[in-house]
Symmetry: C2
Amino acid sequence: MKKTDMPQYFQSILIAVDTAIFSVIDGALRVLLIRIGSGPYKGKWALPGGLVRPEESLDQAAERVLSEKAGVDDIYLEQLYAFGGVDRDVRGRSVSVAYFALVNSDRCLPATIEYYSDIAWYDTAKLPKLAFDHTKIVSVGIDRLRNKLGYSNIAYGLLPKEFTLTELQTAYEIILGHELDKRNFRKKILDIDLVKETGKIRKSGQSRPARLYSFSERKPKIVDVL
Amino acid sequence: MKKTDMPQYFQSILIAVDTAIFSVIDGALRVLLIRIGSGPYKGKWALPGGLVRPEESLDQAAERVLSEKAGVDDIYLEQLYAFGGVDRDVRGRSVSVAYFALVNSDRCLPATIEYYSDIAWYDTAKLPKLAFDHTKIVSVGIDRLRNKLGYSNIAYGLLPKEFTLTELQTAYEIILGHELDKRNFRKKILDIDLVKETGKIRKSGQSRPARLYSFSERKPKIVDVL
DNA sequence: GCAAAAGTGTTGAGTGTACACCCATGC
DNA sequence: GCATGGGTGTACACTCAACACTTTTGC
């Protein structure tokens, strides 16, 4: 811990942040991937990431990467885990502090508007081989997301301002990978005041219009949801 | 993420591991602290820690620190969180990957045998001011421990091979900070096969001897305990 | 026989789970 | 009037929480 004990040139370990950005799009849980343009991993898909700069904290670095490489700001972000295996990068020793982030499906992301060809929302169930240990990071991220759905209001990061209860339930089902009982789901969600009615309704095709809800709080909170 | 994009001399960030080692001793949840011998933090108490070496993984670094600075091997160890605030160390930029570890109260630790005067088991309820952001690390560690007691068999890290159910319950109570109902506790613990009878009994003073139990599994496992 | 800690069951409240039909709308 | 998705209630099983007395031992 003491810099004087072991000068820094004895420790050439790079520190990076990598962010697994999740969203529910087209009926699937997807993660944002970028194709690497050069170096030994050229052509491989990877999570958006970058080196931490000396003047920024880990959290700030993650936010910057999110903004610069994925074009999103002000979204749900939390630290996942620090990955520091010796062999995680063939180019040399590095430690990656992984973050996981959530975006609404209605945000206009580069990948969504297909502006860049080397960035894409991949279905987490059909991932290609990823560079580094990014497959592991995605897997840890999914585990965290599934867990946290059950005991927090984290889902607010995935849904637009207003949504129907069916949309909320569908998001849960897609992430958890199994169906939920409609009546029990609605009972519980309303019971714990996770959401509140907006008073608005949305008409959609030839069926009964649905009431629109919004989250009562858009800040991380521990709640027993399921 | 690409080393060529930003050469390492642009990033002089040191990476350390710091371990919060917990144990239940003399009726209190305690954490192992070491007094710093030199530098700007001289005289302050801190968690055992050290720089990560280029040839070792984060987990290996944590194990080495545990062994070198605290004299313990082969104990429960898991990563807690990566702390990377810009101001966490006045000497310069660093990132600390914090670990948390558990030891049985019956292990012969340096601090226990009072071999070193600058190492001690502090009651977590009466901590002195710690160096760096170590107070935060201890606090995150305690939260994790309390949480995990409820849904895992993590307690095996805190108890000796054989123990009475009262000892187990007392450990839970000390960590959680509140009392538990004896009958309900025993019912639940036995119900989920967290422990098994050894067949032995232990006599202690002028009271009824207690049956000795051991954990059915001494590997991390998810179980609904409380 | 008494002090000290070990050990043991039952009940009521509340929560989770399973399950099927009517409602409002557009065409 | 029919197709489409929205919306609602009840009964049973199970889990959780509260609670007090008997047993075994050493002195």
